[in-house]
Symmetry: C2
Subunit: 451 residues, 2 copies
């Protein structure tokens, strides 16, 4: 476990823990690139106006301002107050509008960056954390097929991580909204807000709230909860919804879309995808498919990967940019992996070989050996002083460096090299221009632990 | 060139430009790891007290505060005012103290992160930029050898980047301070501050300032400028300094240290290292070796990689942690590479192959082909709709995707696959379980352009 951080809500990792995080980040990047997503980064700050456009989150936003007040006043007058981004969707939307003339639509991008939220320090939620987002954004239109594809890309990415079994839960806003309309409830966002609290409050409380806060009758509340109780790992949710006897055009559109997602889910990622008609997602801007992901056995951790379709990710004059995307909460995931020892790095440092020194004058020769090894991708470092060999070996042992290299000059001037595997104690002659460690020792690897 | 950013001082790259930046970051990371440096990241924020401990930079610091004022007041009362870090050295020093019980000393780490400085928007300097730092920090003592090694690691890293020839300029604070003392100037920091302006003001102006501001005689000013005029690519600077006839113990120590750095520089990186006795470095905390790096022909860009030795990087009670390190200004370097087209990505997107659709029902089969290719590390994407082949090829062409894959079902039910290199127009039969693109098309590569 990580030591207690000196500032709560701002997690920092020790070097061995960072290797686990790097493995997660590398795996995500590699997968996203294999699926043809381009990397972008946006600046950490946006104007406050831009950030608060979607409302409701202002309490969590960190404004930034120069400590030198006169400089700050001049800058604010010129460009507005600035603040740190709290997600990667709002900045991406702004980037798309800023650069629309330079991008090819549909534009596929991934973005892995830190975001900041001014959570209360005492409740232990992160105030700085890393998100990994993928989105596809179109110019004017965006084929529905991307709603299917993006879920599959995330399943591919998550499947390669050292994490427990997961379930990607999918729902559709049109389905829910059409159903509510079909039973006479027209304020769909208000109904969804109540349904969103199902896991927290339970069905009875939500039924009561639907009647009190949204003006539903007991029958309407009952029907809405019946819809939310449907959960299938295949397309059979369609019949279950139909059995509730509600007719609505938007409902049909939603059913058909969700059925298309599930059909490919069953075919391409069996057991990974669930049609879960209780999924509401808090944010108002989703307009169709919505996604959430839970780790089986870790449901209380909350969703580790969420997103959805937004018909209007961004607008610029008369242009509209629809999008669909998902976002992984990397820090939440890595904190859980580290906190429960779900994965381990094969060693704690990148170094595979310590080149020892036989005497103080041999440092430069040792660097020559190191250069030869590095040319073949073998990470190594050279001892800083010619301490006794036992001490140099201990240096390697303490750090988890598996090999120590010894060079010596014989009386006849010939240099001999040997390399010792300090785990087994085996020491063998080695040629600096040829020797390779076993493949599993070449680089640090991270794998799920057996715990 | 990048489009004008919407907020000056906060550069953002287009996807093709980002590939160049990623290449630089990947190359640095790979090199640092080959030399046995561990990755760490620190939080983006420190307390203002921590940041201002070294003084002088307060005008440039961005404080952060929640927009919700009541939340903010409570947090400041509890943990102090927070601000964004302006470099990676101050946070690293704090990290070392926080985690001293969990680290092995000497501790080698690299750290690649964004930093923020509240520069005036109008002078065009970046307010958000990426630094790549390496440091070695010891507990109590740190062998001088690391001063030699770290310069060589940075030379190795910079040599692998698509940048013009560079010179790493090295000097030594002890040498300068001892020399000044030897000629009767005791306020070394004040002398260094004047010498630091040599490139900007020229020798005459600096000589005058030394007399006016530091109280030097004309002879003392002359001697200080003679020292600063010494520049050699080998160890001959020692004789040139001795010829000035100044005797001082600290001067001898500095000469001996710098000679050791240069001896290995000549041996291991000929032509890359210069003993430049005018290098002063602004910051007060350096105590021995100091480094700066310029791109030949781009001297006005300023130093792209700087650092030095600090006998007291951090302290904790009675413990002192000496360190030596260098920091690359990645954004400055990448801006120059992009601005002058010094390097180019082999294509603008990660995708190597577009899998086309013969009809709307073939999407899932096309995904099967894509899955087979991705299993061999071939980045690909599937067309979102079965537009005419000409349109699908145009989609690939516009993005710089080199290959388009075609699958069709013959009358006898047999599926045939072909792949077209859209640059040459050559189209050949291909097996999705076996086909590989030429090695140079497998991944995006970035290389120095011929311009």
């Amino acid at each position: 476990m990580a030591p207690k951080t000196s500032l709560s809500g701002f997690p920092e990792w020790l070097p061995a823990e960072r290797l686990v995080e790097l493995h997660v980040l590398d795996t995500l990047r590699e997968t996203f690139e294999l699926h043809g997503f381009s990397s972008i980064e946006t600046r950490a700050v946006e104007t406050v106006d831009q950030l608060l456009r979607k409302g409701e989150i202002d309490k969590e936003v960190y404004g930034i301002s120069r400590l030198a007040e006169d400089e700050e006043a001049a800058a604010v007058a010129k460009e507005g107050k600035l603040a740190l981004h709290f997600d990667l969707t709002v900045p991406f939307a702004r980037y798309v509008v800023d650069n629309a003339g330079h991008l090819n639509f549909p534009f596929r991008r991934y973005q892995i960056q830190k975001v900041w939220r001014g959570e209360r320090p005492q409740d232990g939620r992160a105030r700085e954390f890393t998100q990994a987002d993928i989105d596809v954004v179109g110019d004017g239109t965006l084929p529905f097929r991307y709603d299917v594809e993006l879920a599959l890309v995330m399943i591919d990415a998550l499947s390669k991580l050292p994490i427990p079994e997961f379930k990607l839960r999918v729902n559709n806003r049109k389905l829910a909204e059409g159903f509510y309309r079909g039973i006479g409830l027209t304020d769909a966002p208000a109904v969804l807000r109540e349904i969103d609290k199902l896991e927290k409050f339970g069905a009875d409380k939500v039924a009561a709230n639907l009647q009190q806060n949204v003006g539903a009758t007991a029958e309407q509340a009952h029907a809405a909860l019946e819809l939310a109780s449907i959960r299938t790992e295949d397309g059979t949710f369609v019949e279950q919804v139909r059995a509730l006897g509600v007719a609505d055009e938007l409902l049909e559109e939603g059913l058909s879309e969700l059925a298309e997602v599930m059909a490919e889910g069953v075919r391409r990622a069996p057991g990974k995808m669930v049609a879960d008609l209780s999924i509401a997602r808090g944010l108002d801007y989703y307009t169709g498919t919505v996604y959430e992901t839970v780790l089986v056995g870790h449901e209380k951790l909350g969703s580790i990967c969420s997103g959805g379709r937004y018909e209007s990710l961004a607008t610029s004059g008369k242009r509209t940019f629809p999008g669909v995307g998902l976002s992984i909460g990397v820090t939440r995931l890595v904190s859980r992996i580290l906190g429960q020892n779900l994965a381990l790095a094969s060693r704690a440092v990148p170094t595979a070989v310590l080149i020892s020194l036989v005497d103080e004058d041999s440092w430069s020769d040792a660097q020559d050996v190191a250069t030869q090894l590095r040319a073949r991708g073998i990470a190594c470092e050279v001892s800083a002083s010619a301490a006794k060999f036992g001490k140099q070996i201990k240096y390697a042992d303490k750090r988890g460096i598996p090999f120590v290299w010894f060079s010596s000059i014989e009386d006849d001037g010939v240099v001999t090299h040997e390399v010792k595997d300090i785990r087994s104690g085996e020491q063998v002659p080695a040629d600096p221009s040829l020797w390779m460690p076993p493949a599993e020792d070449l680089s640090v690897s991270v794998s799920a632990s057996q715990a």
